[in-house]
Amino acid sequence: MLPRDGISRRSFLGFGAGAATLALLGRANAQQQGVPGRDSVVISENGSNPAQLVSGAFEALGGIRSFISPGDTVLLKPNASFSIGPEIGANTNPEIVSAVTSLCLQAGANRVVVADHTLGRLGREVIRINGIGEAVEGCGGEFMTLDSRSDYEAREIVGGNVLKSVDSAKVISDSDVLINLPVMKNHDATGASVGLKNLMGLVYDRMVFHREGLWTTIADLALAVRPDLTIVDAINVMTKNGPRGQPDPGHHYLNRVVAGVDPVAVDVASLNMVSSLGYPDFEISENRNNYIRYADDLGVGDGNPSSVNEKTFLWDSTEGDANCVVQKEGLELPGWAPYTALSGATIALGGAAILYDRRSGDVRKKG
């Protein structure tokens, strides 16, 4: 029996129909042919590196310039919460973060701010260990750790199930575009962690989410903080012991990214893709990833597995390209000339002062 409290009859029936369709389809991951549109969910595959997968996803969704305008401040929200190396897959692959940073800057973004409220209030140390800080700053982006209460402001949630407001990062209001960059992984509390759950990293007090119930509060947050685009790292999916993945992350190598504008549909397509490979934690049920149903019911996006499946496209990214362009020229120290000029001026002034002092002394002596 599926849970019905808080879920409308229509969405309940819709989920039932969706699940039945998926069961009939067997390996029910994206198999649509044709050209994806802006409402589609794109599964970018076959790239030879993470940057190529990301580049392909942008291309499939109409090009990065349909998301970024020149002069924009872009906020990227990867999962950078865990003090653990990139090989585990607990955090978003640093190469994906650097690729998106580079692409946004190349598209004319003025600033690319990468932000996360890492676990344990030690942002700088955590991003040093997980490699995301270096990946971002090496590409001309800036990492903003959201450790302090002063980094947050109250944001109203209209029509939420439980939450009426949430302390969300101020940098959201200061940005023109928000791109959510979650990693697809197992999470022993919720089943899986994808895009909607990743948005908890833009919140100060996450304890209230746990106290009030993760299913409803994650859906409520999606009402208040809506990314313009979600790009899911599904390259090397952690299938067990999440979210830290220790001692054994049980990797399933997919070499894909999933992207789309509808944050709920992207989560559903990602979950479909992994659950169809035989991982029940990635299913959507009353005990696994149930926030999808609540988000669908609040109208955040399309949470119906069958309709999402219809608009999910596989995209071959073999041709894509995105090199991390180091854009630090403007920040580098100036060459020798200014220093020489400054030193010369200092010596000259010092000499003049000594001469002046001696001369005044002479004048004083002579009376």
Binding site: G120, L122, D188, A189, R206, M207, G213, L214, P243, N287
Partner: protein, 223 residues
């Protein structure tokens, strides 16, 4: 995070001032022994590497140098809540912050301690699941009557999410059917736990379902 001795917020403290503090600290210790009747009657969570409790109370200079160097603001100097003998001695307060030594080997408080009541710990070669052989500040305990997955049958696992020690918390359940039947629950393993306090820091319930108690702490020897 690689603070060196002498490179602390207390650099400006003069030799005379320091010796005066040391003297005052010793006086407080002696007063504590006299007035309190006996030392160590209330055990508290000490910073990592702390020497045996009676010796700690006698030798701690009460200088407070360990407190500001903690990068996670996890240490606090005590008032009179645990008796005169504990006055001005440091304690780890997981609700404020947790010890990050299991995370990155930080030994800032140990390096800052002039009285050497915090002794260096060599954990560089140990995998986290064996850390408790050397680093054992205390032991986390779980009150299942408050813990969200046990009492409300809702998902939580904030403790498991943050715990840096492999095997200190293991996950049980999750195979049941029906509402709440598939919710996974944390089980704490006292032998593996190092007592860093991360789980208590992250626990969302009020009051906390997880408490780190001094029981089982491993103390070092002063030298």
């Amino acid at each position: 995070m690689s603070g060196k001795r002498g490179n602390t917020a207390f650099d400006s403290v003069s030799r005379r001032h320091f010796l005066a503090t040391l003297g005052a600290g010793t006086a407080i210790s002696l007063a504590g022994v006299t007035l309190g009747g006996k030392t160590g009657r209330t055990e508290v969570l000490r910073p990592p590497g702390a020497i045996e409790e009676r010796a700690f109370l006698s030798l701690c200079a009460r200088c407070g140098r360990c407190v500001p160097v903690c990068p996670n603001s996890a240490l606090q100097l005590q008032g009179l809540e645990n008796g005169m003998d504990n006055l001005m001695t440091p304690k780890l307060v997981p609700a404020l912050g947790h010890c990050i030594m299991p995370l990155n080997g930080c030994q800032n408080c140990i390096e800052a301690c002039p009285a050497k009541v915090l002794q260096p710990l060599d954990i560089s070669e140990l995998p986290t699941q064996e850390l408790s052989r050397v680093l054992k500040i205390g032991t986390a305990t779980l009150d299942t009557s408050r813990c969200i997955p046990y009492s409300l049958k809702q998902p939580c696992l904030a403790c498991w999410e943050i715990c840096p020690v492999v095997g200190a918390i293991t996950i049980h359940g999750g195979t049941g059917k029906g509402k709440g039947g598939g919710i996974r629950k944390p089980v704490f393993n006292p032998e593996v736990c190092v007592g860093c306090g991360a789980c208590e820091f992250a626990c969302p319930t009020s009051p906390k379902s997880v408490r780190v108690l001094p029981a089982g702490s491993k103390r070092t020897e002063w030298n």
